[in-house]
């Protein structure tokens, strides 16, 4: 309702930037009489809450008075809207200094009066920067934002605003976090556990919660708010407002980049804490979490921060409409509110891969972490707020896929959904996205990635990489090599060496620095793995080692190796998502045949080949139907290299320049002249 107004205290007050809120928002505030309204408005720290005749509450962020002055509605009482505050001698000196500054900027104005308006006197955005810096030079404790100048355009208002800041009356409300604290891993970790909506940690509707479990011992870590439908609506509304009305949508792309760089720096400062939370919540081995789960997340934000001011459109030489001429250019614009739904295998890194590109492109986001691993996402939310990302730009909703994920897919105000998870859910999401509002969708789904090992490879390296291709992160890795094809002549030797390596793997507490192999992510997943291996045995594959749960508390599963796996078997076709190596033989020299078998899958996420023969390497990498091909390496992902699948492994890329396209829309403008 832009432009709505009411009479308050005998003057016309116009309302700007409003959103529906629930009535609890008005719990703490000071009433404001509005003639004709069913009940008084309430001035809260979030803004002015108004009540409709139907009892519903509306939050107004900014109000404008008759004289054109606009203030945050939250400061209705504190800003001295009608009566100017008295300045002390010291403040008067400051005011006179600032008058000289205004004079030097507005050199076409003969005298700076209290009523002189900065912009109506010809100031431009460059002058705003200068004014902010001039204030900083004279009063270092007075850190203005450009927005402060835009909201206080006359000299008097400007001085009043500066003085309020100098007196400390205008402090940004501090982020209130109700932490769960734990002393673990030689540190105290502080974990937010509520929903993060519009820059605040809040309870879910009805105070609903669930317990998140530490897979190392099966014990609950803490209660986490469980988002409900109305919470999703609030988060989407906040993201929409942040995109359409807020500072985020207006700022220069490089300033957006600086905020994202800052966020990366904060994540780095807190990397040990993040890695510890990841270890207890997802069972990730701490050292791996530090390097990969958290380390690569930091790199991802840094990488995409650099893209912000480099998102170029083109000018295009179209056929001219003679005798006139044409200019055609494209602009790459952010999409708006994006939803991101991510899995539990790399909770923070999956968040980073999608969110970094999404934010760099200028969107706002509502993200649902996996229900079983919400904690690093909530810690991330805290850091995003501390980095200064405006409210509503990032919203995090722990909750179930069936409720929150579904509602995001259906939501008419969400224009893009990025999903990483199973192919089955991916299909369902794509259908919902189509039916609701044809939202753009990118899907990074399951895989059954083939790894082909030729006899002319570097055997030691093939063993080492073959091991990590399967057992990295307990096999909870969407690009994990789901099938190994080993050339006949080296097969037995390969298997023998692999078994030797598996025996050396140390299973244990992920926080123990010497642990190689931690617990599976959650109980249901562990149970599935047990069943998966039983099917393998039943169908006649040879179980060489592992295949069962480790006898200790928590959800540990033994590293497992199957050989003699035939193409028709269940374990040759289906993804295990666990530490299960599936080895098949191929006849020596039969390159085309092994390619046929490797490609005979509905998945196409990743693949690998080991050979020293450059022609064979290039031939095989050309023929493999997969979004990623590793040659003489595996799992070598990098933030600058695009990542995503072919066929039923989904479409759309994470990482690299290409990921930006998933979060941009192209507009072509053609002008005739």
């Amino acid at each position: 309702m832009p432009g709505a107004w009411a009479e308050v205290d005998g003057q016309k007050v116009t309302f700007y930037g409003s959103s529906l809120v629930d009535n609890s928002t008005a719990a703490n505030g000071k009433p404001l009489d509005i003639p004709g309204a069913s009940q008084p408005g309430i001035v809260t720290k979030a803004g002015l809450v108004l009540f409709g005749n139907n009892g519903k509450a509306l939050l107004v962020r900014n109000v404008q008075f008759e004289d054109g002055k606009m203030i945050p509605a939250a400061q209705y009482y504190s800003s001295g809207s009608s009566a100017a505050m008295e300045l002390t001698e010291e403040e008067k000196t400051f005011a006179e200094q600032m008058r000289a500054v205004w004079q030097s900027i507005l050199n076409n104005v003969s005298k700076i009066e209290d009523s002189t308006d900065f912009f109506k006197s010809g100031a431009a955005s460059m002058d705003v920067v200068r004014l902010v810096e001039e204030v900083k030079l004279r009063a270092s404790s007075c850190q203005l934002q450009n927005e402060d100048v835009y909201m206080n355009t006359t000299f008097q208002d400007f001085i009043q605003m500066c003085v309020r800041k100098l007196r400390g009356e205008d402090e940004e409300e501090e982020l209130v976090v109700d932490y769960v604290e734990k002393s673990i891993n030689n540190m105290t970790i502080k974990m937010p556990h509520q929903l993060f909506i519009n820059g605040e940690f809040v309870d879910a509707e009805g105070g609903k919660t669930y317990k998140t479990i530490n897979p190392t011992d099966g014990m609950a870590i803490c209660d986490v708010s469980l988002a409900q439908i109305s919470d999703v609506d609030k988060a989407v509304a906040a993201a929409k407002e942040a995109f359409e009305e807020g500072e985020w949508g207006k700022m220069n792309p490089r300033d957006r980049g600086r905020l994202i760089y800052k966020l990366a720096d904060l994540m780095e400062e807190n990397q040990e804490e993040l890695a510890t939370i990841e270890a207890i919540d997802s069972g990730a081995v701490y050292t791996l979490a530090l390097k990969t789960h958290v380390g690569m997340s930091i790199q991802t934000f840094r990488y995409f921060a650099g893209w912000c001011d480099k998102i170029h459109g083109s000018t295009i030489p179209i056929n001219q409409a003679r005798p006139n001429r044409n200019l055609t250019f494209t602009k790459k614009e952010p999409i708006g509110v994006c939803a991101i739904v991510i899995p539990w295998n790399y909770p923070l890194m999956m968040l980073a891969w999608k969110t970094a590109a999404c934010l760099a492109a200028g969107n706002t986001v509502v993200l649902k972490p996996a229900q079983v691993t919400p904690l690093t996402a909530l810690k991330f939310a805290e850091l995003a707020a501390k980095a200064g990302l405006p409210k509503g730009v990032v919203n995090i909703l722990p909750g179930s896929g069936a409720l929150v994920g579904q509602h995001l897919s259906d939501h008419p105000d969400v224009r893009k959904l990025g999903f990483t998870g199973s192919t089955e859910i991916g299909k369902h999401i794509m259908k919902s996205c189509a039916v609701s509002n044809v939202k753009k969708v990118s899907l990074e789904l399951g895989g059954k990635s083939p790894l082909i090992i030729f006899s002319d490879c570097d055997m030691d390296k093939a063993i080492r990489m073959g091991m990590s291709s399967v057992f990295f992160n307990k096999g909870e890795n969407c690009i994990a090599a789901g099938r190994l094809f080993v050339e006949n002549s080296i097969h037995d030797q390969f298997v023998k060496k692999v078994i030797g390596e598996v025996k050396k793997m140390k299973i244990g507490d992920p926080l123990d620095r010497s642990t190689d192999h931690g617990p599976q992510n959650h109980k249901a997943h562990l149970d599935k793995l047990v069943e998966y291996c039983q099917i393998g045995i039943k169908e006649g594959a040879t179980l060489v080692c592992g295949g069962k749960q480790v006898q200790r508390p928590g959800f540990f599963f033994e590293p497992t190796v199957f050989t003699d796996v035939q193409d028709h078997m269940y374990i040759a076709k289906e993804e295990s998502f666990g530490p299960v190596m599936i080895i098949s033989k191929f006849e020596s020299g039969e390159v085309d045949d092994v390619l046929r078998r490797a490609n005979a899958t509905e998945y196409g996420l990743a693949s690998g080949v080991f050979t020293r023969d450059i022609s064979k390497a290039l031939y095989v990498s050309e023929r493999l139907n997969a979004g990623t091909v590793f040659v003489n390496t595996y799992n070598k992902t990098d933030v600058a290299s695009p990542f995503g699948g072919f066929k039923q492994s989904g479409f759309g890329k994470d990482l690299g320049q290409e990921a930006l396209n998933e979060y941009l829309k192209t507009k072509a403008v053609t002008i005739e002249y």
Partner: protein, 422 residues
């Protein structure tokens, strides 16, 4: 070192320049005579932004894979060129320093840079910051010195693989020649300009007067971009001149460190004398001196803001780069006439056009022979936007993604494959 680490070093350098912004701006004001506030808000801000911008590019300089004919596989690598010699002018010392080093370092080159002999101080402070940021020794080397010795040695050096120069067209020619005589080093040149600024009668007059004024008088007129030929359409010509004179007269000259001053001294005696000599030629050749036209004050190298009207295209002040606070205003009648006259110069650096008519704006901006065309603005620059000239204003581009091409060699790798598949 990984490309992303180079990016982090550049970002760290940006943070350090931001920390020392006050100091560097003061050095610029002292050493170059630049108005302090301009140094602080324009030069230093631009330097910081440029460093951050190229910090982001370091790990995004991508080659291509190419579908060649036959059973081959081809890809390109964008490799650094090697040792880059860089020679910069005195008018924007720290900003030019950063414009040069940031893309060079971003692409992985090493640098030998010579600041102008008049203005070495900010470059030397930058050297200290580069060390503090943690760049490895030898990556950036700063050599204050003269053009005929140090500059000459750089452009002739057999181990320098590329030379980048910003300065006069005359010296630019010497540098390109030296490169040819020595090792055919790659050359980029950003040289002089005699930039047309075209004002149509249908423009927002006050805005055009203001932009044309600052487009010329900015930095004491010592800008290669200076809009030194203002073509004004006949119906508004007299009013435009009147308002321009008013603006020129209102300028406050004085110590560049004093608040409220908006024009400082010229850089040195030689430039000072040259500007006065050109002003004299304008008077002699029959242009109307509307205001200024001589020295200001009792000491220092100050020149009064000067406006000439009734300037014709054959006069020296309409053809030669003055590099001082001297504005030439010409009159034109038709769009085809003004395009012809605007392009009738050996230079082709920048140009401006002021009109509210979208057809005129696009027609003129297509027809102008210049590396940058501004519509309803002037001197609007940003780290993302390429900068450089047509014709004798130089070759190559600085800033933007385009600058990366000037600091990389493209290597095409073609591998024989056994069977073609695409």
């Amino acid at each position: 070192m990984d490309a992303s680490d180079r990016g982090r070093l550049l970002n760290r350098l940006a943070d350090l320049v931001e920390r020392d912004q006050l100091l560097l701006a003061t050095l610029e004001a002292l050493d170059c005579g630049k108005v302090f506030l301009t140094a602080y808000f324009v030069d230093l801000m631009a330097a910081i932004r440029t460093l951050r911008y190229y910090g982001g590019w370091a790990d995004k300089i991508q080659g291509k894979t190419i579908p060649v004919d036959g059973a081959y596989f081809t890809y390109t690598r964008h490799e650094p060129i090697g040792v880059c010699g860089q020679i910069i002018p005195w008018n924007f010392p720290v900003m030019m320093f950063v414009w040069k080093i940031a893309p060079a370092l971003c692409c992985g080159n090493t640098v030998v840079i010579k600041p102008a002999e008049q203005t070495p101080l900010s470059a030397l402070h930058m050297a200290a910051l580069i060390k503090e940021a943690g760049f490895p020794a030898g990556v950036v080397n700063v050599l204050p010195g003269y053009g005929e010795t140090a500059g000459c040695a750089i452009s002739h050096h057999m181990d320098i693989d590329k030379v980048a120069f910003t300065g006069s067209t005359a010296v630019g020619k010497l540098i390109q020649k030296a490169a040819g005589e020595s090792n055919l080093k790659r050359v980029t040149l950003e040289l002089g300009g005699k930039n047309p600024n075209i004002v149509f009668a249908d423009c927002d007059l006050e805005h055009a007067v203001e932009q044309a004024h600052s487009g010329l008088f900015f930095n004491q007129g010592q800008c290669c971009l200076a809009g030194s030929r203002v073509f004004v359409e006949e119906p508004i010509y007299e009013e435009f001149v009147r308002r321009s004179v008013e603006k020129a007269k209102s300028k406050v000259l004085g110590n560049p460190l004093s608040p409220g001053v908006d024009q400082g001294p010229q850089i040195d005696q030689k430039q000072f004398d040259k500007i006065l000599e050109l002003i004299e030629s304008g008077k002699d050749e029959g242009a109307t001196l509307e205001c200024g036209g001589s020295v200001w004050g009792q000491q220092g190298l100050f020149i009064q803001p000067t406006v000439f009207s009734n300037v014709t295209d054959n006069m020296r002040i309409a053809k030669e780069e003055i590099f001082g606070p001297v504005q030439q205003i010409m009159c034109f009648r038709s769009i085809s006439e003004v395009i012809r006259r605007a392009n009738d110069t050996q230079y082709g650096l920048a140009a401006g056009v002021f009109t509210n008519d979208i057809n005129k704006a696009l027609t003129v901006s297509s027809a102008l022979q210049a590396g940058m065309v501004w519509v309803n603005c002037y001197n609007a620059m940003s780290a993302q936007c390429p900068f450089g000239g047509f014709k004798m204003s130089g070759n190559g581009r600085e800033l933007g993604e385009y600058a990366l091409q000037e600091y990389t060699e493209v290597k095409a790798v073609t591998i024989k494959i056994s069977q073609k598949n695409s």
